[in-house]
């Protein structure tokens, strides 16, 4: 499948390279192979887990109510593990290898270890899936004790986590090699810095997971008699929530990467963007407390400090990225001549390129639907009117699916031609895919949050309570919401299917890229490469009226919705 314009060469360390005909970068063949396998396995888990998600949504649609209760809880557990953990982390490992070896132009550290990591992750993920599908481990993704899963459920997760940890250290090793061998000068690129942020959070995540999952495994086989449920929950969420913060960091890095690759966008300020990532490194993980705001035993001081990411400094980081990425895009577009009026730069952006539209939608969905609601739900008192309702999955389908998954899909449209060196097949389908998926998942998110606002419980098979001894009826609107959620889930699944179809067909049956096809349809437009980009640096005092309008709209929405929720809270029974 190789269509190199130049023969592979060997570096002094024995690693073999090819030179990318589109970017001129030296591509380490081991890194390339590992990126491929991790990305392919990631997409397999996305397809499987996404399918389970569709079945779950169709069961929650009261008029359809597809699955029996035991299957609903079983597949809900599998859905959580497959997409929240396995799809995302396999893809993130690919992102880490890309952001180190490829972007830094050097060889991957310890490729044998990287392969071991891959094998462990696959084995762990498969074992955990088997455990769930055998039916003895329908404990949900959170597996709160004292509810117990089969031992190999915990073991699978532990093996997976060990593999992921090895992969993270291969990434750090690669940074060392790049520095020692001088494959770049000065500071690492911003995208790599974002990947470093993700990797750091990953280390804390996996360490927390080990601290709690290993004793829980021993408990499940009988060596330990008791696991304290509160202790479990505090430490488990050090893993469970932080793992989503890996996503945030990786996804923001991808936003910067795609903006740079397609538009030639430079960050407005290296300093500000890197400080924003530093806020993530220091404080983002504290938000694990979001899951403990209505728990007994932890004080309001602990809750307020941690849930606010230390006075909202990590939210500050996100708001900076949310301004500086569109700002960088606007600056680049204006430089390229789209200078008329407030929004010509945005109108004339490459909306037909799924890599761009995917990232643009990812930013909007993550910011407006996921970010605002996350901060609100993570407010100590407001959590009282949201905890464990469908508002929670509504929120995180906007962040993890609308934000992270869509961003990962978007960059896949660049990875296929650049790393797999295949033409994207079914270009029309690919063009529409981010819109279909984005619309579907926005619906899923909004309607679940709507139902949650009306009180509907998450992880609940029968919101009609038909088998309950005591009756209760949620408002009729809630049932309507769940129907609309089902329809949105079908739309999102269609978008997911389009993605899998395009990617799988392109990778396995696509035409290889040739020098002619590269010349005819470059993956990276000429404005995005060559001259503009090699002078990548900090933008000089640009005027960004469009971005100012966008962030103003965002800020007003944020403030209004924040206080609307305080109003809701003030109307419930006084408690103290």
């Amino acid at each position: 499948m190789a269509v190199d314009t130049q023969a592979p060469s060997r570096g002094f360390s024995g690693a073999s390279y090819r030179t990318c005909p589109e970017t001129g970068l030296k591509v380490c063949s081991q890194a390339e192979a590992l990126i491929k396998v991790n990305a392919v396995v990631a997409v397999v888990f996305l397809a499987v887990g996404g399918f389970f998600g569709l079945l779950v949504a169709l069961t929650r649609w009261p008029a359809v109510h597809l699955l029996p209760a035991d299957w609903f809880y079983l597949l809900l557990t599998a859905h959580g593990a497959d997409v929240l953990l396995f799809w995302i982390i396999f893809f993130e490992v690919a992102v880490l290898y890309f952001a180190s070896a490829i972007i830094l132009n050097c060889r991957l550290a310890a490729p044998k270890w990287a392969w071991l990591a891959f094998v462990l992750m696959v084995v762990g993920a498969v074992v955990a899936n088997v455990a769930v599908l055998q039916g003895e481990s329908s404990v949900m993704f959170t597996s709160y004790v004292p509810m117990q899963a089969a031992p190999h459920f915990y073991l699978g997760l532990i093996v997976f986590a060990v593999g992921a940890l090895i992969a993270v250290f291969v990434f750090f090793g690669t940074l060392v090699i790049a520095k020692e061998e001088g494959s770049y000068e000065g500071s690492v690129p911003l995208v790599t810095f974002g990947a470093i942020t993700a990797a750091i959070i990953a280390v804390f995540t996996i360490a927390s997971g080990a601290i709690i999952l290993i004793p829980t495994f021993l408990w499940s086989v009988g060596y330990i008699s008791h696991i304290d449920p509160l202790m479990y929950k505090v430490i488990w969420w050090g893993m469970g929530h932080s793992s989503q913060q890996i996503n945030v960091s990786a996804q923001v890095a991808i936003w910067y990467a795609v903006a740079a690759m397609l538009l030639g966008a430079k960050p407005l300020s290296e300093k500000v963007s890197r400080m924003a990532f530093l806020m993530y490194i220091l404080f983002l993980q504290l938000a694990s407390a979001h899951h403990l705001l209505v728990e007994p035993g932890v004080s309001s001081e602990w809750k307020i400090f941690n849930t606010s990411y230390a006075l909202y400094l990590a939210v500050l980081g996100s708001m900076i990225h949310g301004m500086s990425i569109p700002g960088a895009m606007e600056a680049a577009q204006r430089r390229a001549g789209f200078n008329n009026g407030m929004f010509e730069w945005l109108r004339k952006a490459p909306w037909g390129n799924p890599a761009f539209s995917g990232v643009a939608l990812s930013i909007v969905i993550f910011g407006f639907l996921g970010g605002i609601t996350g901060v609100i739900m993570g407010t100590e008192q407001l959590n009282l009117i949201m905890h464990n309702t469908l508002y929670v999955p509504g929120h995180f389908h906007a962040t993890v699916v609308g934000g992270t998954t869509l961003a990962f899909m978007a960059i896949t449209y660049l990875v296929v031609p650049l790393i797999f060196r295949k033409e994207i097949m079914f270009k029309k389908i690919a063009q529409w895919q981010p819109y279909v998926f984005g619309a579907g998942i926005s619906g899923v998110s909004l309607f679940m949050m709507g139902a949650g606002t009306l009180g509907v419980s998450r992880r609940h098979w029968d919101i009609g309570f038909s088998d309950a001894a005591m009756s209760f009826d949620y408002p009729a609107t809630a049932f309507l919401m769940m129907g609309l959620n089902g329809i949105s889930a079908i739309l999102a699944s269609l978008g997911g299917l389009m993605f899998v179809l395009v990617v799988v067909c392109s990778v396995f049956f696509g035409k290889a890229r040739t020098p002619e096809s590269i010349a005819a349809s470059p993956t990276l437009p000429s404005t995005g490469t060559a001259e503009t980009v090699t002078t990548y640096g900090s933008e000089k005092h640009p005027k960004l009226p469009g971005t100012v309008v966008l962030v103003t709209v965002f800020f007003v929405a944020f403030v209004l919705y924040y206080y609307v929720n305080w109003k809701y809270l003030s109307e419930v029974w006084p408690l103290s």
Binding site: E185, I200, A207, V234, I235, G238, L278, W302, F305, N306
Partner: protein, 56 residues
């Protein structure tokens, strides 16, 4: 390869500011990024749980 601590491109005479050196050091960041939540979230949280009194 430029030696750490000086920027050979922009202004070779100038020393790299401390914050930039911090941001250029992934292992120092790794330490901070693990120590911060371990202390503020995990340790503080576990300490509070261990101090819950027993019901009368």
């Amino acid at each position: 390869m430029s030696e750490q601590g000086t920027g050979s491109g922009g202004a070779p005479e100038e020393r790299v500011p401390a914050m930039q050196r911090l941001l250029d050091n992934p292992f120092l960041l790794l330490f901070m990024g693990v120590a911060s939540p371990a202390a503020l979230y995990l340790l503080w949280g576990v300490m509070e749980l261990s101090q819950i009194p027993i019901a009368q």
